[in-house]
Symmetry: D2
């Protein structure tokens, strides 16, 4: 527990505002309908976010916490529960559209539905038959690709709205679904960058939940354990865009758990690290790489890729940040800003005033 931890939604928005103020690239905050608005969505929050310099981004539905979802939500055996889950997801999308979030997307964590390996005992009837029987169930194959744990159901359902709120059979829905890659969920030894390459090639890459892991789903900071893997993923994106001249539309989200690190520092560092690794992937000499590949010169190809990774991108990032009007070194600037000490004092006082335990923190 940290004294500077958020006590309420406003603190959370204030922290998000600080992260944006120091990095210039995180204008949107994802919210959880159930956790952030237990009494229903409060439109006032849009103004509150604006006050702190950010806006409301993804609206995460919650179809796993309520006891009624114990045996599944959109694939529950009970049609009434399926209907409730779908209705809740559609509501989230409506909320998003209401506050002017044009591409309003809602993330449905697939793992809460067809659970991750091992989360359920055998004999649960997760067989093929059942997946087919309900045309409204999300397409089954995504969970089978390791590292791909979640559907970007927002896109899926958002488009369906245009069909008059009628959910269409799987074979129609499937092409519209996109995949959200959580960078810490793939099985050990899985070639995650190859999967990303394939998703791009199939037009199915929706976005990322960034984090890293050493043991399992540790939700550590992205790139803190295996920065070269993150670089290789970014490199697939940069390479595809270079090759095709097309811009990919990808949602980048941070999904980490900071047990030991002060939260805002951890968020700012994460943003900087993603920028750094992405910038390195942009520094790869694509023409040289393509030429080496064409000659099957594996030594030269790999050295060309590695040269990008070892490129010093500090000047490049400094230039970008100057343009954005943010400090050249966001993390050190934040540490010196006094924000954390101020937040700690204010929030300790707020906790005392509200009679809240000092161990409590806002989710």
């Amino acid at each position: 527990m940290q004294a500077a931890a958020a006590v309420d939604l406003e603190d959370k928005l204030q922290d998000a505002g600080a992260t944006h103020a120091f990095t210039g690239v995180t204008p949107a905050v994802a919210v959880h309908v159930l956790w952030d608005f237990p009494q229903g969505f409060d439109a006032g929050v849009v103004r509150l976010a604006k006050k702190h310099g950010v806006k409301i981004g993804a609206i995460n539905p919650n179809v796993f916490q309520d006891q009624c979802y114990k045996w599944g939500s959109v694939t529950n055996r009970d049609p009434a529960i399926r209907a409730k889950a779908v209705g809740h997801i559609l509501d989230c999308i409506e909320i998003g559209r209401g506050h002017g979030q044009p591409e309003s997307l809602a993330v449905v964590h697939r793992r809460h539905e067809l659970p991750r390996p091992g989360r359920r005992p055998p004999a649960e009837g997760l067989g093929g038959g059942r997946l087919q029987e309900d045309p409204r169930s999300p397409p089954p194959q995504h969970d089978h690709a390791p590292g791909v744990q979640a559907l970007r159901a927002g896109l899926l359902l958002h488009r369906l709205l245009r069909l008059g709120r009628q959910l269409r059979p799987v074979q129609v829905v499937r092409p519209r679904a996109k995949v959200l890659v959580d960078t810490g969920h793939h099985l050990a030894a899985c070639n995650i960058e190859q999967i990303v390459a394939w998703l791009i090639s199939e037009g199915m890459l929706g976005g990322f939940h960034f984090n890293d892991r050493k043991y399992a789903d540790d939700d550590l900071e992205v790139g803190s354990i295996d920065p070269y893997q993150a670089f290789r993923i970014f490199s697939e994106i940069a390479g595809y865009e270079w090759e095709t001249g097309r811009d990919l539309d990808i949602a980048y989200m941070i999904d980490q758990s900071h047990n030991l690190e002060p939260k805002v520092q951890a968020m700012i560092r994460t943003v900087c690290r993603v920028q750094e690794l992405f910038a390195k992937s942009l520094c790869v000499d694509r023409e040289a790489l393509a030429a080496a590949q064409a000659k099957e010169d594996v030594i030269l190809a790999e050295e060309t890729l590695r040269a990008g990774f070892h490129m010093d991108v500090t000047p490049l990032l400094a230039a970008v940040r100057k343009k954005l009007g943010v400090p050249a070194e966001p993390l050190w600037a934040f540490r010196e800003s006094g924000y954390e000490a101020r937040a700690a004092a204010e929030r300790t006082a707020k906790r005392k005033a509200l009679g809240i335990s000092e161990d409590a923190s806002y989710a």
Copy 2:
């Protein structure tokens, strides 16, 4: 090295004949075009197989050993090598049809093409773009599903023959491809039975390469490390057939490496173990299981499944074997038959006559 190891193709066919004679359920022998017929397919081998009571089954093409395939076969950058590889595969199918193998299938190991994770250094350009560019490349997604390392390209190409030897674009080819599941290739922690269930549901399960592993691709005997996993896989098949009343057309193949075990004993034991585990999956009380699932009674559902696993199927298998006219206990009967000692003597003499090192064995 074992004295009883096969010296030539006839020994291999004789061993296959012995395995079939003692089990009654392995009438076909897969052959490798390059290894078994270095001078081109010899039709006399069909008669030789018949002499030993077996027939020629799958014709495995070999598009990985020749130096020209160092940088890939059906997805090689060089169109001439792609054409050579495809031609060789089609030849294998023709050979199969020639010797009266109606469903003649040729297995293309996908891993020799888009290599398994880690087999190649990064920077090899395995990007999405490349996969798309060649309509003749095998569908890319199969390797991404863990545990699914190989395409059942025989079915794929066999059907294509009817299109006049014209390979069609990926989107046409893909629905015809089936997947061969190697039971020891999936990544650790992967829910392999769920993938099998999905493949069945999608009509994409082509068959199995049976083996087991503890560390990685150890190619140990199927069920020797995790018999319950093999049972759960079979249970998905049995459950689907019970639920739909349909018979699945699945190719069961053994793909093991016996470093320590005498080979024919290991093969006979493997066949018996597969029978045993499959029989147990047939003993699951499907009605009770479905009823428990419908009530979400996880305790009862799992106990129903487990009851099948712990069922003593010895009497059932004895009855089946009586009907097939083979010994009730094939492994013990074989060990007492004297076959191994006879083969050791004959083959040692043959090695001496041919001046072959006693360390050499026929692949």
Copy 3:
């Protein structure tokens, strides 16, 4: 959440009593000092346990929940915190001795100290130097053996008490420490039964925390995913005892998390499953196995081991249970006993009376 979930410590003891009443082999309940006795150990609980037919077993110290342990407990850089942690552990042992628990052991989860791989970011200074610098730190090697996550610090510290509460340097302490094997913590592909064999051989096997996993530390029911692995572990114990004629002193504990299964049913089933798999390991023909191993007859050796696994131990367990005066089929007997419905009614009422949310359950 389940209506029959325990509301308070008495409910927990009542459930433990029911488990013991139906199985006859679980007389002791482990307690957590902090969770079960937030106001300090209450000696009345010993009588309460007795009323429900059980006794208090292991006293688990809690050196991880308090904020002061954020940076470690017995290896914290601050000597005052190290002293506090050690003092708390010694208190737990005193408590155990006080209520007549002669072998009173306290389990220190090593992972809360030198955290499991990935739980901490790099750069934390977990280097060798630090481990040495404090003679009171628990011996470092145990965490390195995969699957061995916890020290049986009770034995460790209990013996130290005899040295006058003076903690001795690592080289002295180490021989006294024993290892508690959590059957779901070892890394994937790790040969856990070989580690157990080695621990036995070195006199270092303290006991087990039973559970199973498919993905990571899922804490599923022991034997629910890989019953053959559990059998092989038991088989190492049975084999050692047969070979040496010695009885091993091993603490068997259940450490599972039942998210979906009704808790008492899950506990009774777990106990039965452990009995079943252990009984199977006792049915292995040890003389035949040793003879086959001596001849390096791997086929016969493995079939001898497998014969034990496939032995039907139902009659054996029925006889044991008759002698213990418990039902022959504890799980089915419990399900028919009406205990669950009664507990649900009583505890729902209790929750209402206490104004406790129906989502709350006693840890």
Copy 4:
């Protein structure tokens, strides 16, 4: 197969000489007694090595290829085979001393003895009892620490020589054994740098077999998949030496398999990469790191470590290489030297002259 591949031992020594000539830091070549000297060690090879600017380093015994070792070597059940294996290892050490290799070490791959997980079927009797029974067996615990697959038996046995060729019981031997860490053998998710830190702390780190892997034991180039992990390992060494002022005596060896890369290029690149990552670890500001750790400032500590990893060490390495009199960029210099084309021509001719297949290469 590559035209420039070595045809005989002299080619191998010539390649080693080239690697040393371009890097200046690889003066010694490890040899395999059985493979390099099928007719017994040839002292002339020492002169041959000298001619090519290198010397003979580790003498690897081979106690796994001969059929007599099928069931184990130094732990074989048959005392005659154990004696033969031990004798062969001692011979290797004598050979090493004979050619003036003062620290003459022989590497015994433990995995050929107590095989890696999964390499043998269950029921093989790898139990604790057996390990104890033979005082000459290598200490059992090393294999259990993941990532530690081999004993540096040279040190072990070399010291034993001083005891008059009498092998002493395990408890005596154990303290003398050191561990050779193969950087690609540890189980997935294993915290290998923590193990290295512990081995250093215990005085048990003998050396490294460098390589990397993505899937399993791929034997890819060290640092090609996870350079940050290699850096963290080096950082433990650098940190210990900084902290204690002591120099560690560590044997650095390369143990890679280059299937696709031209061999000498791959070796030179590997050497450069190890230098690069080690140099980075030396650039970590140890005082700043220690200060951050002392304050538990995890953000600052990690940034301090990362700053070393991202340091551009090109100038430092250029200076070192200038001093050594080798090219500043060994890989590019080698590629431009024409060595490979010359070797290809000469060796193709040699193959033709000797009637050797062009697919053959010297091990």
